[in-house]
């Protein structure tokens, strides 16, 4: 292999090593959404990254305490981050917010529901996602 992976900062978030002995728990419904979407920027370990600009870490993130904030950002976008209203269902948005708020060192107990996303979320833009 002439392609060499010199270094990675990847540390797969290890969910509950303590549960090892028990039967494997069903994966969190938000985990798949996180891996297929969020991880593209926020990284598998949710630590984000920094270059000329910064991708914020979601791990141990105090801004996630009020669930209305992640609902607003995921549905409405922020800076370079596109809005995902219309790309993801309200259920998927609720699932992934719940996943992040209960993993990566976050321990928020309250749950986000699709109804909350529908009510508090930023509506999908009228002008569509992008120009045709």
């Amino acid at each position: 292999m002439r392609f060499v992976l010199l270094a990675t900062a990847l540390m797969v978030a290890a969910p509950a090593l303590a549960q090892k002995a028990k039967a494997p728990a069903a994966p969190h419904p938000g985990a798949e959404v996180y891996q297929n979407v969020c991880q593209a920027c926020h990284m598998a370990n949710a630590l984000g990254g920094e270059g000329a600009g910064k991708i914020p870490a979601l791990a141990k993130n105090g801004a996630l305490e009020a669930s209305s904030y992640p609902i607003m950002v995921v549905t409405g976008g922020k800076g370079a981050m596109p809005w995902f209203r219309g790309q993801l269902t309200d259920q998927q948005i609720a699932d992934v917010i719940n996943y992040v708020r209960s993993h990566f060192g976050n321990r928020y107990k309250d749950k986000v529901t699709p109804a909350m996303v529908a009510e508090q979320g930023v509506p999908a833009p009228k002008g569509g996602f992008r120009e045709q």
Binding site: L5, A7, T8, Q39, A52, I55, G127, E131
Partner: protein
């Protein structure tokens, strides 16, 4: 044709009229006139700006050494300004970029690739083709000595793969295209026979259309798209024409129309018809990054590399930019009278900016798209040697969306690099979330559907760039929509006190190098005017 009536003298030629208009009224009017007379097409480029007469000692700081920034620096220097460029990367070009053997690239998150391509091989992570009507970019390529060669966009010998048709077996674009046209022609001609178009066409025009359909669709004498010499001249023969005893060709059987419909071939046909993909297309000899290098030669000594900008102030009748050296960590400031800022909006929105509330809101309002590219190097050009595919693109409904064969170095021996993935939509996020190694493996797996027995077997190594993890952009390009255009575009491009933005994001040719060039020329023309009026 000219009537040549006696006594009226020779009418002025079109060129003479254009010259006269140009002399009287400047290039804008000349451009409009050219447009009316059908000369200029698809671009707003009326020639390089002729800026001059800058007040001596006036300083301009340019943020970003991409095409927009370097061109601004080049033209403003010519006009007499004292120009300095501040750049985050350790190289010029920005998104105009090629990865060559020996290059090292570290994406956000820390994954580092050392590219192992053979000499002369490359991956263009960003732009990779130039439409013939991107006249501004073409002008500067010529002016700056960047050699171009044809880029093969459409190749009838390339393949189309659909999981929904032909049992997942890739088919030749040529066969599917011919069968699509042939079947549509036959159906339409049937509709005419059944008087189905009587309300739309006169009998005479319907007859003409019927004859046209026969020729266009390669129909036989009975207006059927059938297994024939005629249709095989398009879709290819089962046994091609040869010499001697077995010289006679054997026609091929067209596919069933249902399969053609299932294949989605019309999407590829339509894509090739877009003005952005019509022939002729170009690429620089030796990789897209040659354009960035060519531009950099024009502003040599003016670029400070490895500088991360953290704030822009316009206090006290000047521009003050704070930037940190990414190598030494030393923070300093640079002052200037004016600033051309080409920093992508997603990054700019994170800085401490001293701009009007309207511009600030505009900068924060525009998200960036995402895409992933993967370059795969193979031991030899088996697609050329074994399948006679010289350049062009094979399309698939898998996540990689396409593979593109190299347009350069055609018919040569030795290793070559195929663009093994160019993702869109959800697939871009999925791919970007993988490690570089995983992306390369997935691209190899998915692309092998086109060339089983060769693709994985003759693979040497790969390189990949996921744009959401690119440290200097945080995405591909600005993603405007109708609403954000209406609300923010004019504010975004307006001169804001002593600062003006430039780049593809400040254009309607979004995501193309041409947009960056046209935006830059327009921005500096207005900034120059502002400086002279001050």
């Amino acid at each position: 044709m000219n009537g040549g009536m006696a006594g009226t003298g020779r009418a002025p030629t079109r060129r003479e009229v254009l010259r006269a208009i140009g002399l009287m009224a400047g290039t804008a009017v000349l451009y409009q006139a050219m447009e009316v007379l059908g000369h200029a097409k698809e671009t707003q480029f009326a020639g390089p700006p002729n800026l001059s007469g800058a007040r001596p000692g006036t300083k301009v700081i340019v943020l970003g050494a991409g095409l927009a920034g370097m061109l601004a620096a080049y033209e403003l220097s010519k006009a007499g300004y004292d120009v300095q460029i501040i750049e985050y990367n350790n190289r010029p070009g920005g998104r105009n970029w090629s990865l060559y053997g020996g290059d090292t690239y570290t994406e956000l998150g820390g994954a580092t690739q050392k590219v192992g391509f053979a000499e002369g091989n490359y991956l263009n992570p960003g732009p990779w083709r130039i439409p013939y009507h991107h006249r501004a970019l073409l002008h500067y390529c010529k002016a700056f000595g960047v050699k171009l060669e044809p880029f093969m966009q459409m190749n009838q010998q390339a393949l189309l793969h659909s999981s929904k048709a032909f049992g997942g077996k890739p088919m030749r674009y040529r066969e599917l295209h011919a069968d699509w046209d042939g079947n549509v022609a036959e159906l339409l001609s049937k509709a005419i026979d059944n008087r189905g178009l009587d309300s739309a066409l006169t009998r005479e025009d319907a007859d003409r259309l019927r004859m046209a359909l026969r020729e266009w669709g390669a129909l036989d004498q009975d207006f059927k798209y059938s297994k024939s010499y005629r249709s095989s001249r398009r879709r290819g023969f089962d046994r091609p024409q040869g010499g001697g005893v077995l010289g006679e060709p054997i026609p091929s059987e067209p596919h069933a129309f249902k399969d053609i419909l299932d294949s989605g071939i019309w999407r590829v046909v339509a894509q090739h018809m877009s003005i952005d993909h019509q022939h002729t297309m170009f690429q620089p000899v030796g990789g897209m990054g040659m354009i960035g290098r060519g531009f950099a030669r024009q502003v040599e000594g003016k670029i400070r590399f490895n500088q991360k900008v953290t704030s822009i102030s316009q206090q006290g009748g000047k521009v003050t930019v704070t930037h940190t050296d990414t190598g030494t960590g030393v923070t300093g400031t640079t002052e200037a009278d004016y600033c051309v800022c080409t920093i992508p909006l997603g990054i700019l929105s994170q800085m401490d900016l001293d701009v009007s509330p309207g511009l600030d809101a505009a900068i924060r309002a525009i998200p960036y798209s995402n895409s992933v590219k993967v370059g795969l190097e193979f031991k030899r050009r088996f697609w050329e040697e074994d399948e006679a595919i010289y350049g062009g693109i094979s399309f698939t409904d898998r996540e990689i969306s396409m593979i593109s064969y190299p347009s350069g170095g055609l018919h040569s021996a030795g290793p070559a690099v195929v663009l093994g993935a160019y993702t869109f939509g959800p697939a871009s996020y999925k791919f970007a979330g993988m490690t570089p190694e995983e992306r390369i493996q997935r691209a190899l797996e998915q692309g092998s559907v086109f060339h089983p027995g060769r693709y994985k077997e003759e693979f040497i190594g790969g390189a990949t760039v996921a744009w959401s993890r690119v440290p200097f952009t945080l995405g591909c390009c600005a993603q405007w929509n109708e609403d954000t255009r209406k609300e923010h575009y004019q504010t975004l491009v307006a001169v804001d006190d002593r600062l003006v933005l430039a780049g593809e994001h400040a254009s309607y040719v979004g995501c193309w190098m041409e947009g960056a060039i046209l935006s830059s020329l327009d921005a500096i023309t207005r900034l120059h005017k502002r400086a002279l009026e001050a």
